[in-house]
Symmetry: C2
DNA sequence: GTCTATAGAACGATAGAC
DNA sequence: GTCTATCGTTCTATAGAC
């Protein structure tokens, strides 16, 4: 690996943060939230504990940072089509097509998700911070839906915020069922339900 | 407690099983699946380990028996209205009214559920047995829906089996979100979404 | 010289072994 | 029930960017 030039402090910091997050994603995926140690994460990134704690105030925040990336990378990619006002059918088909690969990815992430929810249920402060993420995800979903129905000039089938919540719940539930058995959620349920929920 | 008469062998066996299940429900709720020991369950029921193992082949089966009771008591009670062909609105209103008390019950059961799913993900045989339960629950849901649409003489809005899966996913997802923050799922999302999914 | 990102020692809590 | 190992977190020292 060739080093192009000396990094500024900010660049170096950003690079370290990136490395830590990537390492955390790997280590958490392999060992789970409980099983992963801060030491191991730091080491996997080529640093020590000090580096982790200078970027994240604790282990919870490290996970929440991963969750933020997950929410802002997975979500929008899928719903970009919605915003443009493309027909529900193409959106639904897109989702359905991605499903097999999603199911695969979801194995690790799902485990992490449930571990962290269990953890959050035992700690009020953590629960609140997780809840904030859920709320924000729902609001972003709602904003996208808002734009969509404005774009196609039709009123939403049910109130936007409720619709956003329902979609999140449906997706989370499908995830859970898919973890137990992928076959339960294949065969067009995803797309047909989305069409049903979204179209007038 | 007054004993009316000598119990037959079968009655005594059933009584023991009942006591063990009740004890398991309590102990699992308090300590979680991992934290609960068979010893503690047996003791809480007034028996010893031997009694547990003569009724359930292992800890997994003990949980699965609880799940069976959960599925056949909570589910049908709620969907009985559906079968009769009562209007969606009354069904939805019923669900919405039960929501606060459901959320409360869900705290313990939700924890158990996620613990067991995590456990099942690490053990193929357990995963399969859990998957069977999901499948059966879906089929029972589908059968109820089938009757409903036959009763009202209308075709279902989407294919029955898909509809059953979608409803299960939605309910599971709402549960999960409700565990993190009950406020996320109140305010009519439940009823409006059910109406939307079920009505023609 | 000042500031800050990181290393690494130190500490307290906790879970698991025996 | 005791002991030990492990881990999250805190604290302090230092090297290098500015």
């Amino acid at each position: 690996m060739t080093r192009k030039r000396r990094l500024t402090r900010e660049e170096a910091k950003a690079e370290t943060r990136r490395a830590l997050l990537d390492a955390a994603a790997e280590v958490f995926a392999e060992h789970g939230f409980h099983g992963a140690s801060i030491d191991t994460v730091a080491e996997a990134a080529g640093y020590t504990k000090g580096a982790v704690y200078s970027h994240f105030s604790n282990k919870d925040e490290l996970y929440l940072a991963l969750l933020d990336e997950h929410l802002s990378s997975e979500g929008p990619q899928a719903i970009a089509l919605l915003e443009s006002g493309a027909p529900i059918e193409s959106f639904a088909a897109e989702i359905e097509a991605r499903l097999p690969e999603e199911v695969e990815k979801m194995r690790d992430w799902g485990r992490l998700t449930y571990e962290f929810i269990l953890h959050a249920m035992r700690n009020e402060e953590v629960r609140r911070r997780l809840s904030d993420r859920f709320e924000r995800a729902r609001d972003e979903y709602a904003a996208t839906l808002e734009k969509r129905y404005a774009a196609i000039g039709e009123p939403p089938p049910i109130e936007i915020e409720k619709l956003a919540t329902a979609l999140m719940a449906f997706e989370n539930g499908m995830s859970m069922m898919g973890l137990v058995n992928p076959e339960l959620i294949t065969g067009g349920v995803y797309s047909r339900t989305l069409e049903r929920l979204l179209e007038r």
